[in-house]
């Protein structure tokens, strides 16, 4: 059963930040609740206060500005994202990743910001956001700061967030011109599952040369961008060799564990196979 909790639902961001400042680590933020409610039931989290942020209109912002990029507010659900034609068109890697998360029931509630704040190594939206160079806007009563998503995660289910801070929105810059992104995810079943391994890739051309960005889920303590593998495309040489080099580096840089979803050995194989497949698809398109 759920423990007894003090629930509040502020109507403005100011009110919310005030509450966070007052309760600090005794409070948890409730957005979609798809992670929070589970950990409350399992008594993994024992907050005294729950602050529901769904009634704060400005957190529902989902906005695209040509040349500037995308703003995804804290209460924007995965369903909102999937229904957005600009995201489907210009941020295909994010759209694809979100499509693999849970089922329709879950996507109706779960939020993208919640997904990054849970900071699960298996989070599917994070690799996509990483290759899109997303930034995180963090606010508190004291003010606000903006950091690259890459610097947001600090460990398994750990982030840089202070107890009195929250993520107001995620900012996704305009992707490079004519870029193409994909998310490949291996699951235990064909329907819905957490990732055994997920690979996000973004391909584009810069001065005629193919550039690639790569990030992974479920292969390290945090979602992981592997820039060393991307560098394989910076050097001259045949494209097949670059792909193999990138695959090689990716396999070296990841550090998967064995758990109930898959062995480290299998995950390493999936990193190899999925990365290669993804890169081949990307270079074919761009």
């Amino acid at each position: 059963m759920l423990p007894k909790l003090d629930y509040s639902s502020p109507r403005t961001l100011g009110e919310l930040l005030e509450l966070l400042d007052r309760y600090k680590d005794q409070a948890k933020i409730l957005a979609g609740g798809t992670d929070l409610i589970v950990s409350l039931r399992e008594k993994l989290e024992k907050p005294k206060y729950i602050i529901d942020i769904k009634k704060i209109p400005e957190l529902g912002k989902l906005e695209y500005r040509e040349g500037e990029g995308l703003t995804i507010g804290a209460t924007v659900t995965f369903k909102n994202i999937l229904e957005n034609p600009v995201i489907k068109d210009r941020y295909s890697v994010l759209w694809e990743a979100v499509k693999t998360i849970g089922d329709m029931v879950l996507r109706n509630r779960a939020t993208l910001v919640g997904n990054i704040c849970t900071a699960s190594p298996a989070g599917d939206s994070s690799p996509a956001l990483l290759v899109l160079n997303a930034r995180v806007k963090i606010v508190s009563k004291e003010g606000s700061r903006e950091i690259p998503l890459e610097n947001f995660f600090t460990g398994v289910k750990k982030t840089v967030l202070k107890p009195w801070e929250m993520v107001k929105e995620v900012l996704v810059p305009e992707p490079p011109k004519k870029s193409f992104g994909r998310y490949l995810k291996m699951m235990r079943v064909r329907s819905e599952d957490l990732s055994v391994v997920g690979v996000a890739g973004l391909g584009y051309r810069e001065g005629g040369e193919i550039k690639i960005r790569l990030a992974f889920s479920s292969v390290a303590p945090t979602p992981l961008r592997v820039k060393e593998a991307e560098e394989a495309f910076a050097k001259p040489g045949p494209i097949e060799e670059k792909i193999e080099r990138a695959v090689q580096v990716a396999v070296e840089k990841v550090s998967p564990i064995s758990d109930v979803r898959g062995s480290a050995e299998y995950r390493l194989n999936l990193v190899r196979v999925l990365t290669r497949r993804l890169l081949k698809q990307l270079v074919e398109v761009v």
């Binding site: 007894k4 064909r190 329907s191 819905e192 194989n269």
Partner: protein
């Protein structure tokens, strides 16, 4: 026929889709209390002490019970189960204490205040280990347990039952064999994952009588076992069962009912409810047993089976009160649907420190058919024969002898027709095909059979009451767990009585005080047995109707015809009387009345079923054998191990489809469950026997997105003459043999033999990598 053979709508459809159907969890009683269980963290440990004094001080905690409060055991076939753990715990998840409180929050809170001291014992966590002579004993007192005469526990070991089959001369059989092959097979424990977790309410009344409201498949089994164990006569025990949100065998036998009844007594005779969460359902509710098999098969060069030596060991977990019969059932069907002249089989049910096993749809057959159908495929490959041809060559046809020495009846189903049907529809005979660089398409088939696993005296009965307006109430003991049997029974009653099926209502609940007896809702036995009982009840009613009509119409009974809710004199339809005018007695214009309320009854037990010989397993266990076959076409990604089932074909000889749509529904649902169990489902344990995946995040079951796009269902109808309108059961059969069909297809695709379940993507990848 007007109703039999027609796809009428389920009688419970409207209630269920509108949410008005009653389930055990809907029941609220005045003064009801809530129970919560404290579960063992150890797989095997002595209980040194339990201190619940602090928990008892919490306001609104009414009582707390521990194992020592209840000094007797319960069980369906073997009396081996404690109400709560006594002296020691036998699996991670065994209930050690129960808190009863005014509300659930308090009960849950109180659990945290109970202190238990354990003295850990070495656990037995593998069925093969459990059989070793120096293995720790799960039940030291096995010799003291009462058990049904059909079973053979071996005190001083972990063997809860040893079942043996011997036919022919096995030495000679192997000597004459040109090809001999031996293989081992394994599968994990799995959960039934019913949509509705266990829920029951018990009340011990001050006059010593008992009331139970429960989501149970078998109200009469609960009543009987409880009466036996507590020494209470059956007329003082009432068991009420509304609709059930899925059972799959897990709600058969007796589960938490004795606990809530005894908690009620301890709590001052107030009703006590226990409702498991999904996590508790995984941890503390019974599971399907694990399985290990070893089969040695001998055949002639031209593919005739000559000899088979079979060893099956079922991982029963901590208790085997029901599990013993699973090993027995697998034993008497052990060869699968093939004729083997020389046979030696041993099927053991073995205690371990895993969660306790119980019945599961398929009842041992899902398990051993995995082994047999893999073995048949490997034999065919060894012989260089086509696997379909090899199976047909050894098909157990009418007139041939089953493992228990039964000559298969002439009106039995036809395994050869099932195999041919799936082979044809899957397009058997085309070679595996590469798709792109790393994918292969291939086909696989597997066959199956099963008879109801039940004691020879298992009985069913039916009551049909005629109402004053000529409508009818049909009352049967089979519970509605989703399978749809009662709809088919209504159709049978309508057909027999000659009334529209809308005029028959199946009573939607079971209440042992009012409902006619049925042994259990299990074994794919109820359409057959309740079906026959309903026919007899309907004929009993017609006899009574004719009795009255004969007086009113002034004609002898054999001159009367029943049709369209009327009775008339042969050749004189104008001399007729309507049912409604006889229903509660016929009233003449002057008030004189003949006849009275009409109640029909019927029962059915199998003819000439027998116990099996303890030395050789010979005898007559089978009410009927249902045969079937499955075929798949898969696409395999050899780099990731991912398998997609592109197409499925299922064929069953059901004798007669009373309601074709419901038959298809059972087949589609069962096949998907089989696929799910074969590919994904598995209790995963850490080294200490603790389940690692007690939730639906990590215990994967098939969902809508996992359903193959194409599923062809072939219904074959070779009627069994003593079945109702020729019907045989199909409920469990549909979930057999999909996993071996998939593994056989993988074998044809890449030459890799997978003999352990689940056939998960990772396990496939591992097998392929190992071969490379």
């Amino acid at each position: 026929m007007k109703y039999v053979g027609k796809s009428i709508q389920r009688v419970d459809a409207i209630e269920k889709v509108t949410g008005s159907a009653e389930y055990a969890g809907d029941i609220e009683l005045p003064g009801m209390l809530y129970a919560k269980l404290l579960l063992s963290p150890h797989a095997h440990a002595k209980i040194k002490s339990i201190d619940f004094s602090n928990a008892l001080k919490i306001p609104k905690v009414v009582t707390i019970a521990i194992g020592e409060d209840f000094s007797f055991r319960v069980g369906l076939y073997v009396n081996d189960r404690n109400i709560l753990a006594r002296k020691k715990v036998r699996w991670v998840g065994e209930p050690v204490a129960a808190v009863v409180a005014e509300d659930l929050e308090t009960a849950e809170e109180a659990l945290e205040q109970i202190r238990v001291e354990y003295d850990p014992l070495p656990p037995v966590l593998d069925v093969r280990e459990a059989l070793k002579p120096d293995a720790p004993l799960v039940h030291e007192e096995l010799g003291e347990y009462a058990h049904s005469p059909a079973f053979n526990p071996i005190p001083g070991t972990n063997i809860a039952n040893r079942f043996v089959v011997k036919r022919g001369d096995i030495e000679e059989g192997f000597k004459k064999s040109n090809v001999v092959l031996e293989n081992e097979f394994w599968m994990p424990q799995v959960s039934h994952v019913p949509m509705e977790p266990y829920t029951c309410i018990g009340q011990y009344l001050i006059d010593g009588s008992i009331k139970i409201w429960t989501s149970a498949q078998s109200p009469f089994a609960i009543r009987y076992i409880l009466g036996y164990s507590l020494g209470i006569p059956l007329h003082k025990i009432s068991v009420y069962v509304p609709y059930i949100g899925g059972g799959f065998g897990g709600k058969a036998g007796i589960n938490f009912e004795p606990l809530v009844v005894l908690l009620s007594k301890k709590a001052g005779y107030r009703p006590v409810r226990l409702e498991l969460t999904r996590e508790e359902q995984f941890m503390t509710a019974p599971v399907r047993q694990g399985f290990y098999g070893k089969i040695k098969t001998g055949a002639t060069r031209d593919g005739k089976l000559l000899a088979e030596k079979i060893f099956y060991a079922f991982d029963a977990g901590a208790y085997a009160d029901y599990g013993v019969n699973i090993g027995r059932a697998a034993g008497y069907s052990c060869t699968g649907p093939y004729y083997v002249p020389n046979l030696e089989a041993e099927s053991l049910t073995v205690y371990t420190n895993h969660p306790w096993g119980t019945a599961f749809r398929g009842f041992g057959h899902f398990e051993f058919l995995w082994a047999i159908e893999r073995q048949m495929e490997m034999m065919a490959a060894e012989l260089g024969m086509d696997p379909v041809e090899f199976r047909l060559k050894n098909a157990l046809l009418p007139g041939l002898i089953t493992p228990t020495g039964e000559k298969l009846r002439e009106d039995a189903g036809r395994i050869d027709q099932c195999i041919r049907a799936v082979a044809e529809k899957i397009g058997w005979g085309t070679p595996p095909q590469a798709v792109g660089l790393n994918r292969y398409r291939a086909k696989g088939i597997a066959a199956l059979w099963k008879a109801p696993a039940m004691p020879p005296n298992a009985a069913s009965s039916a009551i049909i009451k005629m109402n004053e307006d000529g409508t009818f109430l049909l009352s049967v003991g089979v519970t509605e767990i989703g399978q749809g049997t009662v709809t088919a029974l209504a159709q049978i009653a309508a057909e027999e009585l000659g009334v529209p099926v809308e005029k028959i209502r199946v009573v939607p609940f079971r209440h042992t005080d009012l409902t006619p007896y049925s042994w259990q809702t299990v074994a794919s036995r109820n359409l057959f047995m309740e079906g026959r009982a309903v026919i007899r009840a309907a004929r009993d009613i017609k006899e009574q109707i004719l009795e009255v009509a004969s007086q009113v119409l002034r004609a002898p009974k054999d001159d009367l015809v029943i049709e369209d809710e009327k009775v008339y004199v042969k050749g004189r339809p104008e001399w007729s009387i309507h049912f409604k005018d006889i229903a509660a007695g016929y009233v003449y214009p002057n008030g004189n009345t003949v006849g009275g309320p009409i109640i029909g009854r019927g029962y059915y037990v199998g003819s000439r079923l027998s116990y099996l010989d303890p030395e050789t397993g010979q005898g007559y266990p089978a009410l009927k054998w249902t045969f079937g076959a499955q075929a798949v076409e898969i696409e395999l990604d050899i780099e990731t191990g991912e398998v997609k089932v592109l197409k499925l074909v299922s064929a069953f000889d059901v004798g007669k489809a009373i309601n074709p749509q419901l038959v298809e529904g059972q087949i589609v649902g069962g096949v998907l469950q089989s696929l799910s169990l074969g590919m994904w489902e598995e209790y995963r344990y850490d080294g200490n026997g603790r389940m690692l995946n007690p939730n639906l995040t990590d215990y994967k079951i098939a969902r809508a997105g996992d359903i193959p796009e194409e599923h062809v269902v072939v219904v074959i109808e070779n009627p069994q003459k003593d079945g109702p309108y020729g019907a045989r059961g199909v409920g469990e059969l549909s979930m057999l043999s999909v996993p071996p069909a998939i593994a056989n297809a993988i074998f044809h695709a890449v030459g890799v033999n997978i003999n352990d379940l689940p056939i998960s993507f990772e396990n496939i990848w591992k097998a392929i990598s190992k071969k490379r």
